[in-house]
Symmetry: D2
Subunit: 364 residues, 4 copies
């Protein structure tokens, strides 16, 4: 089935394996007339590039993007935008020893059962490099949203038990620490925590938060394609994500209706909410408040410790996952969460154009 596509109007299709010739994405349905350059996309890709801090893998992946179609004289033409990133630093040797072993926490076993064949080099299609296509498309979606004044921003809320409370958010510090946390002090502590795990050949996880501002009211379709539902799919489809919540999320299950309901009030002709427990979504549609979502990221599965496993012949054995791996993928996944959020919003923005006869009359 076509599981490599996402979106209905702004529709992306990613392709590529970690150790094949390249990785890419085709974006179909981007409106014509959006200013777009390879440089703008590259900026997004650079945010997920490894080797930028001591907490990310030392692999040197230039990940340089080429626009193959859909842009003419600096503007999108309305035709599919094909983006290509060649794979370069492919040390296939490092992965040779796992051809016949199923790595715990990885897709190796179900992948083999599903297809009967597996490109074992670096995880193949299940590699984190698959997200390159998502981030490239996320850059385009973000530019589209930006034209309409909508901003999307993700950051690290927590690394293991080290969390930044909402009261301590300092957004300006996000770019100042290599963990992309909105608080340098917590980031410092989280860094030491990561270092201690690295020393034990272990890894950790964390929580990424993503916010979007200035959304028009009414984005999201009322039943299965609710704003929250599509964001949940979008974000849960990122490799290591094991949970997604909107607004107060799981905490809401502990609250009461009188506390959890956000009262409306009018100010200067606008309808506002006194609180935002809902995280910007009511009945699956944007409500004009800030959109807030969180994604729980599991600890990196590739660890250098010896682990028990089974080989492709079904025999009990041990495995030591070699290669260069991130002790925590949260910082690099921040831009992936942001990208998937932007793609979902761009798609719903386009879908919403067709909701009223009045809109047709404005255009035709």
């Amino acid at each position: 089935m076509s599981g490599s596509s996402f979106g209905k109007i702004f529709r992306i299709t990613t392709w590529g394996e970690s150790h094949g010739p390249g990785i890419g994405v085709v974006i179909d349905g981007c409106p014509a007339g959006l200013a777009l350059s390879a440089e703008q996309i590259q900026k997004f890709l650079d945010r997920r590039r490894p080797g930028q801090s001591k907490y990310t893998t030392k692999r040197n992946e230039a990940d340089s993007v080429e626009i193959l179609s859909g842009v003419f004289e600096g503007k999108t033409t309305g035709t599919p935008i094909s983006l290509l990133v060649r794979n370069q630093d492919q040390r296939s040797r490092d992965y040779g020893n796992i051809a016949e072993l199923f790595r715990p926490g990885h897709a190796d076993y179900p992948f083999t059962e599903k297809y009967g064949i597996r490109d074992y080099r670096g995880g193949g299609r299940s590699s984190g490099r698959e997200t390159i296509g998502r981030v490239a498309a996320g850059a385009v979606a973000s530019l589209l949203l930006g034209e309409l004044g909508i901003s999307v921003r993700a950051y690290t809320k927590s690394i293991g038990p080290y969390t930044v409370d909402e009261d301590d958010y300092r957004y300006s510090e996000i770019e100042e620490n290599s963990l992309y946390m909105p608080n340098n002090t917590v980031a410092e502590q989280a860094g030491q925590y990561i270092a201690s795990l690295m020393a034990e050949k272990d890894s950790c996880g964390g929580i990424i938060e993503c916010i979007a501002d200035k959304l028009p009211v009414g984005l999201g379709e009322p039943v299965f394609d609710k704003l929250d539902a599509l964001l949940a799919q979008a974000v849960m489809s990122i490799g290591a994500v094991k949970g997604v919540e909107i607004g107060d999320g799981f905490k809401a299950s502990l609250s009461s209706g009188s506390k959890n309901n956000d009262p409306f009030y009018a100010r200067d002709g606008h309808i506002c909410k006194k609180t935002n427990h809902a995280g910007g979504s009511l009945g699956g549609m944007s409500d004009g408040s800030r959109l807030i979502l969180r994604a729980a990221v599991k600890p990196t599965s590739s660890i250098a410790r010896t682990q028990q496993t089974v080989n492709t012949s079904g025999e009990n054995t041990e495995i030591t996952v070699l290669g260069r791996h991130d002790p925590v993928i949260v910082p690099r996944a921040v831009v992936v969460v942001e990208s998937m959020t932007a793609i979902t919003l761009a798609d719903l923005l386009l879908q919403n154009m067709t909701s009223r006869m009045e809109h047709l009359r404005k255009i035709y």
Copy 2:
């Protein structure tokens, strides 16, 4: 856009408003040859019917289902299955006073902004009655899964702060208490908690857990249509759900790789996992272990207390939501979560048939 459909092969389309002539669903893509009767579907619908305990609304909704197409001589024919439930107990008067008010926590405001028109009677399309179509389709999906030995079961894990710990699960007790909790003692305490909130014209939320057993390995598509991702969309698309997690979910973000990875081992020619932190999904595909997901349900938004709000003219005012409402929707939502899980699994089961050339050769 077509936001009222879900699934790619086993594809359901729901329709209907709470106070219109009826509610229904069309299931396209159900394989031919499945034994199916209205009675079997009715059993599922009866599980979401109100009026069954003191914690659910007193509305008397018979919700009797009629099969309009797709079944011949007791078996599905491969053509669309159309299911209809007529609305009966529609006290439109109760809702008259909210025609010009935006209820806090409800879809009223974004719905009006999106469409410029709103069927205000009982929430219209955003009513909980929309889930009737989902549950009717869930019954069909469950029967299909059952034919292949797959079982899906949901229950209430917690009501507000009253949680059943995994060690205390007694599955046989689920049907013994009106909250569908796997522990009668906790259910008793939770019931008192609900009663205390009802006395204060307030409401509460909770957590629903859903498990599936005997899934073939490899269900789910590796990128955007991961098992977890589609389940997240499916479950988050239920009205009051604000968070979804698979396996250890948010807790995994606090763990380490060495603890969170589930080691493989072989037994009697089968590949098993020593633990199941992953909740039955690796790389977005089923791994042969029990599938476990949880959904966080917010407190019922409709409460009898007076709340601050705005009217459709943009003026500050107050609202008192009359009518008969559940103080907690969790017990009635259990079968909805189970249904959406079953529908997602049935669809992925069918999708997965086309994954290998070997499968084609078995059929052609």
Copy 3:
């Protein structure tokens, strides 16, 4: 698979068998704010109703439509529009003798091979009654197009060898003869031709032409979803249609570039074409000229003559198809072709809204 749905934004899903409880359609994606009543839909349905002339079956099918959802206070709400027509005159006896026979020219044999089960009563899902859902949806699409000044109209161009040449078109006469031909004289001759075939227990076919005026320029997507391509699918999906052409169609294969190219010229600030060999479509997009398509309809397969066939046990035998059948389905299929054209155009009109950034800025 979901073969019972058509369209991407204005998306219809039909369901129902000829001898089940009813036939219907769900329209998802119709914009909110379109005035819509059951009477307006009924008018369309009445055009395909049998028993209106001596050349159509004598079955008495009231085919009364009920709007089950999606309309509130006379306007569409943006939610799915569910339309139901109960089956009434179901003489199952007439079809009993064909339960174990494969009727020549019918779907019986491949249907049985595909599904292993077949609702043999009156053709089941492959009955012409399936088009009731299409026509009901076509009514809604036509109303939507009408709001934007677009008109769609189909008529009978030929019955067997009796053709109305373009020079002899008198559109006002279409409603004056029971064959819906734009020339009463040719219709008279065609009527005698049909009568002669009826006398021999035989049937005939013909050609339906459909035109659309005042289309905006640019409808249709440049590659697979070309205006012509989607119209071809839409019209070829009608039971008895065996060929589709746009503009000069097959005749264009005999022409030369210098004759077939339609020269452009400017008049009063508008870009026009001197001729319209293209039939209103260039590169798969509407070009501002009249859209013209033709559909070839095969002779009715159900004839009272004895025919050779095979039974479900694989034995050679004979069949005499009883029941009341149209000697030619062309007149009743006219409104079906018109409906499928309108549905396709409505969908492409909505799709086209998202083609330019400028359009987004007009709405947001």
Copy 4:
């Protein structure tokens, strides 16, 4: 909208403009375990390459394909297959003079109106080079069908008025003449006809026929996704195609039921048809007979003669289309029609796997 994708399970997405960096296709949903090499795809691409005879353009397009993903150790892995063909011989100068002119018969005018921007170089996205992606995907589809014993073959039935009658078909001669006609004598006459038009700076069209053998019975979905309907969309979506028919097609409209119905008979336990007026499709599903379809191709729109037109400022003017163009595109379009047919069949073959519960039991 996503108009650059086709198919539901075997789903292709093409991208690229004639004068951009390259052209390509992503195939998602191809089952794992199909032997596939660049050489096999190249063979198909070479069939559409220009410069092979005096009747095709002299442009030298190497059109060398690179497999970027989805194949490992010579077999498909079940992940998306990305195929890239770099553009090489891009004489942009030749097209400079048409930047501000709308070429008659081309997409220039509606494209500009639709998007507000147009890559005018060589037709951009509306160039015939877009079919490279289709043919590359068609190669993969053909290999898949071949594994199941299904063959698909297209050829030129007529060039202008020069037609090969069915009685005169000599399939072995198809590869012997540069027009791919199944009769060398007619091909010789057609060649002279083309030469005479070239001398007058004019062009011609023709008819392509495509046949498929050994299809399983039951391919195609009964309502909108009928075998005929999807083939009609697939083939009509090819640039210059103006008409499509199945079996007797338009001729069937002149026949009678008693002649047009194909009688069934049993032979050696198989169900056969005495005739094949239906062209292998009954009720939109394959019936076990040879599938036959025809596509009408209009004369090449690019002719060197001076033509009347309008410029982008809306002024009347003249145009002379320079560059190297095929006087007839039929021979090069043969492999495109074959490819689109193969892609449609592969997709329906995969869709059909899910039609029966029995099929599920064979796999799970």
